[in-house]
Subunit: 306 residues, 2 copies
DNA sequence: AGAATAGTGTCTTTTAGACAGTATAGG
DNA sequence: CCTATACTGTCTAAAAGACACTATTCT
C-alpha cells in the first residue's frame, strides 16, 4: 500500500508523454519489404499494414504500429509522416487523424502516455517509388531507420504540410540495399491476419478499419490506392477489397461516374487480350498527393456528403 | 536571432502539455446560467454553447471552451467530464471525442500545447437537474468552480466511465446561490453568434458543428437533447435546430419510426389544446445516459450506418 | 471465330420528398 | 361548431440493385 503510493507519487511529477501511431494501408506491400510468412488461405485482395517490432520494454519483441513521441517543435502530422517514412521509406499518399488514446491503464507502471493515432494510405504511385531514407539517417547508417523512439529532428521553420511532403520526397537520398536489409524489425501483414500487437494497438487498427470502411471515407480516398491514372475495373477492385465483397461492375460504373470526380484522360489500356479500358484520373489531383494536415482536414467531398 | 534561439532551446526541454477542451451543445441554457445579452434576431431554435472567460494570460479576458490540462492519473474523458461539470454544474448526457489539435504555432512562445477536443450534449433531462458542485469545490467556496486550470483531483481507482458518471452525479453536493453567482466567467452563447474565442477554439467549434450536422451523427444522438420520453414533434424540432431548416412532419415520422429505435410508451400528451401525441422513448435507453469513453466510443447504430 | 473484359440499356425495388386528407383533443 | 396539431395515404422523382445485351480488342 505504502509502496504503490510512493511509486504513484513519482509518476505524478512526470508529465504525460505524447506519441503518434499510424495505421497505414496498402493493396500490396512494397517490393523490397518483408512480408508475413504465413500462408494466405484465399486469394482475395486484402489490405496490408506495416508493423514495427519493438526492441525495448515494454512489449519488447512484440509488433506495434509505426510511431513515436512528438519532438517539442514538430507538428503532429509531421511526426506521423516522419515515423511512417522510417518504416516504409516512402511518404504516404494520404494521411488523416483518426483518434486519440489516453487511458491511464494503457501503460500502468510507466509514464502516462497519450497516443494520437493517424491512418494513412500507400498507393501504387507511392510504392512504385524507389525507397528513400531521410538525410539524417543516411548520414548515420549504423543506426538506420529503426532508431525511432528518441531521435528528434532539428528545428525547422513552419511550412504547409504540402511543402513539407514535397521537401521530404525530393530531398530524400536513396537507400542502400544494406540499409533496407537492416529493417528486420519492419514487416507487412494482412489486415485480416495481424499478430499480437503491443499496447492497445489492436484497438487502433480496428478503429482505422472501421473508419476506412465507412462509405463516406472510402468513396473519397479509394483512388489513392492506385496510380495517377486507373481504369474503372481497378477502382472497383479497390472498393471490393475495402468492402470485402464483390460489386456489380455496371452499377459501380454509373455510380462512380455520377460523382463527377473522374476525368477521362482519353488514353486506354493496351495489350490486355481483350477490349481496352478507358483510363481516368481523379478530379483536381494532377500530381501532388494530398495529406490531411490541420484540425480541419476534411475534404470538400466529405463535407458535401454529410 | 540569438534571442529566439535561446528561448527555443528552453522550450525544447518542456514536454508538451496535454489539455482537453469540450464543445457542449444544448437546445437552451440552464435556468440559472448567464446568457449572451445580445439580441437574437430571429426566434428560430438555435444551439447553445457554454464558454468560460479566461482569467490569466494568454488570451486573458477572452472567452474559451471549458477544459483544462489532464492530471497525471485522469482518463481523457474524465478530464472532459470534470471540466464540463465545473462550468455547467451538471454531467452531460453524451460525450464523444472530436479531434486533437497540436500545431506548434498555436501557442507560439509558450510551452507546446496539445489539445484533445470533445463534444458533448446537454439534454432537457440533464438541464432539469439541480445544479451541483463537486465536493472539493464546495469545500473551497471562495474559489468556486472557476479555478479550473491547476486543480487536479486526488487519485481514484480505475472505474468504468458509467460508474464514474453515476458517482459524480450522486455524490455531488447542492450548490448555493452564492456559488452560482460566482460564475461570472461562465456564460452560454448561441452557436450562430459566438464572441471572439481564445486559441484556435473557433476551429474546434466549427469542427464540432460539422460533426454534429453529419447525418449519421445527429440521427443517433438527437434524442439526447430531450427528456427520457418525447413526441415525434419534439424530436423533429431537434432535427430542425441542428439542420437549420424545416422538416416535413409526415416524412420525418416515417423515417424516424423506420429506424426501429423508437419505442411507443403507450402514454400521450394532454392539455395541449389539440389532438394528443404519442410519447416515445429511445431503444435500450431506459435510464442511464451513455457517455462515450474509450477508444471505441462508436455506438452500434453508427457502425451499422457505415 | 472465340475468349475475355469494357461498356450500355432497361427493368424492378427502395427511398426521399411533396402534399392532400383524416383524426382527435381543447376551447 | 372551430382551431390546431397528430397522424395516414398516395403520388412522384430519384437512387440502388439485378441482369441481359452490345462493343472491341487480342489470340
Amino acid at each position: 500500500m505504502e509502496f504503490s503510493r510512493a511509486s504513484a507519487n513519482e509518476r505524478r511529477f512526470l508529465p504525460p508523454a505524447v506519441a503518434v501511431s499510424s495505421v497505414a494501408f496498402a493493396l500490396s506491400p512494397p517490393a523490397e519489404a518483408r512480408k508475413d510468412s504465413r500462408e494466405l488461405v484465399d486469394t482475395a485482395v486484402t489490405l496490408w499494414i506495416p508493423l514495427v517490432r519493438r526492441t525495448r520494454p515494454p512489449f519488447e519483441g512484440i509488433w506495434a504500429l509505426p510511431g513515436g513521441p512528438i519532438p517539442w517543435d514538430e507538428a503532429l502530422v509531421d511526426t506521423a509522416l516522419r515515423t511512417l517514412h522510417a518504416a516504409v521509406h516512402r511518404a504516404p499518399g494520404y494521411l488523416e487523424q483518426l483518434y486519440s488514446f489516453g487511458s491511464i491503464e494503457r501503460s500502468a507502471q510507466a509514464q502516462r502516455l497519450v497516443t494520437i493515432a493517424y491512418w494513412a494510405l500507400y498507393g501504387e504511385r507511392e510504392l512504385a517509388q524507389v525507397p528513400s531514407l531521410p538525410e539524417r539517417a543516411a548520414a548515420n547508417p549504423g543506426h538506420g531507420s529503426t532508431r525511432r523512439w528518441d531521435d528528434p529532428e532539428p528545428p525547422q521553420p513552419p511550412q504547409t504540410s504540402a511543402e513539407r511532403l514535397q521537401q521530404r520526397t525530393t530531398q530524400a537520398t536513396l537507400a542502400s540495399v544494406d540499409s533496407l536489409d537492416a529493417d528486420r524489425n519492419v514487416a507487412w501483414f494482412s489486415a485480416d491476419r495481424l499478430p499480437e500487437l503491443a499496447f492497445d494497438h489492436a484497438d487502433i487498427v480496428a478503429t482505422a478499419l472501421w473508419r476506412l470502411r465507412s462509405k463516406t471515407e472510402y468513396s473519397a480516398v479509394a483512388h489513392r490506392f492506385l496510380g495517377p491514372t486507373f481504369t474503372l475495373a481497378q477502382l472497383r477492385v479497390v472498393h471490393e477489397a475495402i468492402l470485402g465483397e464483390p460489386v456489380d461492375p455496371a452499377n459501380f460504373r454509373r455510380q462512380a461516374l455520377a460523382q463527377g470526380n473522374l476525368i477521362d484522360t482519353g488514353d486506354t489500356t493496351t495489350g490486355t487480350g481483350h477490349r481496352p479500358a478507358r483510363l481516368y484520373r481523379f478530379r483536381s489531383d494532377p500530381e501532388a498527393p494530398e495529406v490531411g494536415a490541420g484540425p480541419l482536414a476534411f475534404t470538400s467531398e466529405q463535407r458535401k456528403s454529410a
